[in-house]
Symmetry: C2
Subunit: 198 residues, 2 copies
């Protein structure tokens, strides 16, 4: 299987690569690193990526930023960082990628636990994660040629210790458990699902 | 209680007005009608609304548009109609309104059933609804001075017959049941909740 991994060298992405690379052709994509570079906030950059890579069987996105900060001071501009990057970046990978993906292929996006399990400073992230969870449910029933789509919603992961103080009482998720959720999405048959990994 | 209703003359809004007007001071707001006008896609227009209305106890939003159409042809621009209107319009009513609302006040936003129960042509709407459901959960734990926030997620409503063919098998929701969900949000004590009205 030819699998594009956007965010391949990131905290989560590198473990997803490890879980899949022995048996598949992995196309590593990053904002600055990898086999190909993409700016997911740019439609032209996404279109150019797919033209360069050509037909593929699966796309995994573990990419996108969002604003983290106190609600009383949060502005429209803060909020739109996540809208433009983590939300519309990943949505556009699908809207554009659906023209290039092979039949029976799959898209796997990354949301996160905060849409269901909010934390202080996380209102914009809860919003973006909820949006992505809604998107995969809506898109799953319309993607053509048997193409599937799921989202992975991990809690705070063990290799992001800087975030631990913001997730009081949450037990950081082991990286291999997170990677297996992506593996399940790509290799399984489900669609329109959100896999919570807590 | 002084209650701002944005979208007061809309399909849902007029029933919410009816449920609350006998016992409360209602400030009716519309894009073109009502006591005050607002363009929720404009930060300046929202700020101006709150400056004119002054302190208030509750804000209900039953406003905002989103794109409805087939996923294979959907573009970033289509998708952003809902992001700018139904999502960021309602989010900005809260981000800005939190500076004007009285202690123990409440915000009630409108999402919809499609984030959980998708229909063909509804992928962008599922996304926006999921975003709003995530936002109220995240915002609820940070709003200050006892201010609450909830979302109402109605199915297709009985006074929108043009949409019935897109919701096969769904029984249209009676307007008084929808209005009561808004009433519950304003008059009750809950926060961070999504009231599904199906």
């Amino acid at each position: 299987m030819k699998i594009i991994i956007v965010g391949a060298t990131g905290t989560i992405g590198k473990h997803v690569v490890k879980a899949l690379e022995s048996a598949h052709e992995i196309v590593k994509v990053g904002s600055k690193s990898g086999d190909f570079q993409v700016d997911i906030s740019s439609l032209e950059s996404i279109e150019s990526l797919f033209k360069q890579v050509g037909p593929f069987d699966a796309l995994i996105s573990a990419a996108g930023d969002a604003h983290f900060g106190p609600l009383p001071q949060m502005t429209d501009a803060d909020f739109r960082k996540g809208v433009d990057s983590k939300l519309m970046g990943q949505v556009n990978l699908v809207l554009i990628g659906q023209k290039y993906i092979n039949a029976k292929g799959s898209f796997t996006l990354t949301s996160g636990s905060l849409a269901q399990d909010p934390i202080v400073y996380g209102a914009a992230v809860s919003t973006i994660n909820g949006a992505l969870n809604g998107f995969v449910k809506g898109a799953a029933i319309e993607l053509e040629n048997g193409v599937r789509i799921n989202a992975i919603a991990p809690g705070v992961v063990e290799e992001s210790p800087a975030y631990f103080p913001y997730f009081p009482g949450d037990i950081p998720v082991e990286m291999h458990r997170v990677a297996q959720a992506y593996y399940k999405s790509v290799m399984g048959g489900q669609t329109g699902q959100v896999y919570f990994v807590g």
